[in-house]
């Protein structure tokens, strides 16, 4: 990695930070009950659609960050230690909800996707 690459990577990361912060401002300004990060994704998507391609440094930084998402989740996981008291009180409902509703909703999503894909494919065949 040359100094030039590092500089462009830093710029690409700053662009992501800027989208995230801008998203937060837009959400606050318009009083949207939507987290700023969501608006940030839409801002970047809009910018990419307008630009017509992904600049190389941005693609590299995005791939790197998304490959190591799990590292970024670790402090949030450790943070739950501060809430052990609250979790302990509702331990069984939490455990049951996490497992059962995750299983049910995953099956429901997969079936919804599968059946709709079959339905729309058949319609296209018929035309």
């Amino acid at each position: 990695m040359t100094l030039r690459d590092a500089l462009f990577a830093a710029l690409a990361f700053l662009a992501l930070v800027a989208c995230n912060i801008a998203g937060g401002y837009v959400a606050a300004l318009l009083r949207l009950p939507v987290p700023g990060t969501v608006i940030g994704i839409l801002i970047l998507l809009g910018a990419l659609l307008a630009y017509g391609r992904v600049p190389d440094p941005l693609r590299r930084v995005a791939v790197f960050l998304l490959a190591h998402l799990n590292l970024l989740y670790v402090p949030a996981g450790v943070g739950v230690l501060a809430y052990v008291a609250l979790v302990r009180n509702d331990l069984w409902p939490i455990v049951v909800v996490l497992f059962v509703s995750t299983f049910l909703s995953m099956i429901a999503s997969a079936l919804a996707f599968h059946w709709t894909a079959k339905l729309t494919a058949r319609k296209e065949d018929g035309e």
């Binding site: 990419l48 998402l69 450790v78 943070g79 939490i94 996707f113």
Partner: protein, 240 residues
């Protein structure tokens, strides 16, 4: 984010926290090695494997979590821009996304709705407290977005972050077996359902299955985050 669980942005004390930052990265690298050694099994989830020894160290030495977060907040802060980076695969896979538009809409509407409603009913029936129920509601959404939703609807963002992570781990660990059991073999179906429900951790797992599954998982995670972030606070404020 000034609660004990997740410290605020605090550049001035990052020096004191850099030990914990380094330790977190070290445990994460070790967790990746372990998963590689074990043949990439979803059981050795890197978040779980890295977080457990850190929690044990804090607990064992009686160190408050706020002390750890003097370094830890930096990674959590990077999660915001990293989530914005999802716009890149979304843009790159726009053609794929357009073709599967209707199946994706169906899965996006049904999956999170089943998750929220089944979670609400079960948690109510089992007598969970209102803050817990509110914190559980956005658990299928990727962390930074879910924490924002929890804040909007009166949950505890830090608790929600933990629930998102556990939902991700449960999906990543059991998803493949679940899809096999109901005869879902198509990579797009498996990936999308995984991303919609199990977010970033599920997406990491889907990429191990195939590139197509991972791509659809990333798209599912982004779209479900956007949709749930818009719909859930509005529905919640209207009904509760």
């Amino acid at each position: 984010m000034s609660e004990a669980g997740l410290a605020a942005m605090d550049w001035g004390r990052l020096g004191e926290g850099s030990f914990w930052l380094a330790l977190t990265i070290a445990f994460y690298v070790a967790a990746r090695r372990l998963q590689q050694v074990l043949g990439g099994t979803p059981l050795a989830n890197t978040v779980l494997v890295a977080a457990i020894p850190l929690m044990a160290i804090l607990y064992w030495f009686g160190i408050p979590v706020s002390e750890y977060q003097r370094g830890g907040w930096l990674l959590l802060w990077v999660l915001g821009p990293a989530t914005v980076a999802l716009a890149v695969p979304l843009y790159l896979n726009f053609a794929h996304v357009r073709v599967a538009l209707w199946p994706m809409c169906a899965a996006l509407l049904v999956g999170p709705a089943v998750a929220v409603i089944s979670g609400l009913i079960l948690a109510e029936a089992m007598g969970a407290r209102i803050e817990t129920i509110r914190s559980l509601a956005p658990k299928t959404v990727t962390t930074p977005i879910a924490m924002g939703i929890a804040r909007e609807i009166g949950g505890i963002p830090e608790l929600t972050a933990a629930f998102v992570i556990f939902t991700g781990i449960i999906g990543a660990v059991f998803g493949a077996a679940l899809f096999n059991a109901i005869g879902m073999r198509d990579a797009r179906t498996r990936g999308f359902a995984m991303g919609v429900i199990s977010g970033g951790i599920g997406t990491a797992r889907a990429f191990q299955e195939s590139f197509l599954a991972g791509t659809f998982s990333g798209v599912g995670m982004t779209l479900s985050g956007i949709l749930t972030a818009i719909v859930l606070p509005l529905v919640w404020l209207a009904f509760f």
